[in-house]
């Protein structure tokens, strides 16, 4: 019961971040919206599955998936946003603190 409730809350969080991915204006805002689902949303669903499961093998599989995803997903998103910044720069009107600190240029 409580595991399914946690999974429902996580699914609602994923839906909210999908709305953010569709409606936000530029690439970085969209990736920022997606990061909420990829950490808290998926973690809530995995905790919901872990609450309902009884077998120790299944529990360790869920924990391994959660740990691997939490360790691997933020660096990958960081690589994508860094590559986007290096190739296309920031959107119009954004303050480029990196260029200011490094004396112009990317």
């Amino acid at each position: 019961m409580i595991g399914e409730l946690l999974a429902l809350v996580g699914a609602v969080l994923i839906l909210l971040s999908a709305v953010g991915v569709v409606r936000f204006d530029d690439v970085f805002a969209r990736m920022h919206a997606l990061a909420k689902a990829s950490t808290l949303g998926i973690l809530l669903i995995l905790v919901g599955a872990a609450v309902n499961l009884r077998n120790l093998n299944d529990l360790t599989s869920v924990m391994l998936a959660a740990v691997v995803h939490l360790l691997a997903s933020p660096p990958a998103s960081n690589m994508v946003s860094r590559a986007t910044y290096l190739t296309e720069g920031l959107p119009e009107g954004a303050i480029d603190e990196h260029a200011e600190l490094s004396g112009g240029g990317r």
């Binding site: 999974a7 994923i14 969209r30 689902a37 309902n52 499961l53 391994l64 691997a72 990958a76 190739t87």
Partner: protein, 83 residues
């Protein structure tokens, strides 16, 4: 409660598909694909929570490993196109 969860995940998948189709840059499409991977992981975990059967959980681990690695590879590809 579980059918509502699956409906919500399906709506989220449709929204991610919209961004996958209309996304102007490659990074938008990467973000949308990442969201679709999340929806798949959420569906597998929700099914495991509903039935309390863990047969599909190794698939969950595999998807959690492969998704960010693919993201990183696409990031290297975007960066290599820098002129």
């Amino acid at each position: 409660m579980t059918p509502a969860t699956f409906v919500i995940l399906a709506i989220a998948a449709m929204l991610f598909m919209v961004r996958l189709c209309i996304g102007p840059t490659l990074a938008d499409r990467v973000a949308a694909l990442n969201g679709l991977v999340l929806v798949g992981m959420g569906a597998i975990a929700t099914q495991a929570a509903h039935t309390a059967v863990g047969s599909f959980l190794p698939t969950l681990v595999a998807i959690a490993l492969v998704g960010p690695i693919g993201n990183g590879m696409i990031a290297r590809f975007i960066e290599s196109r820098r002129s």
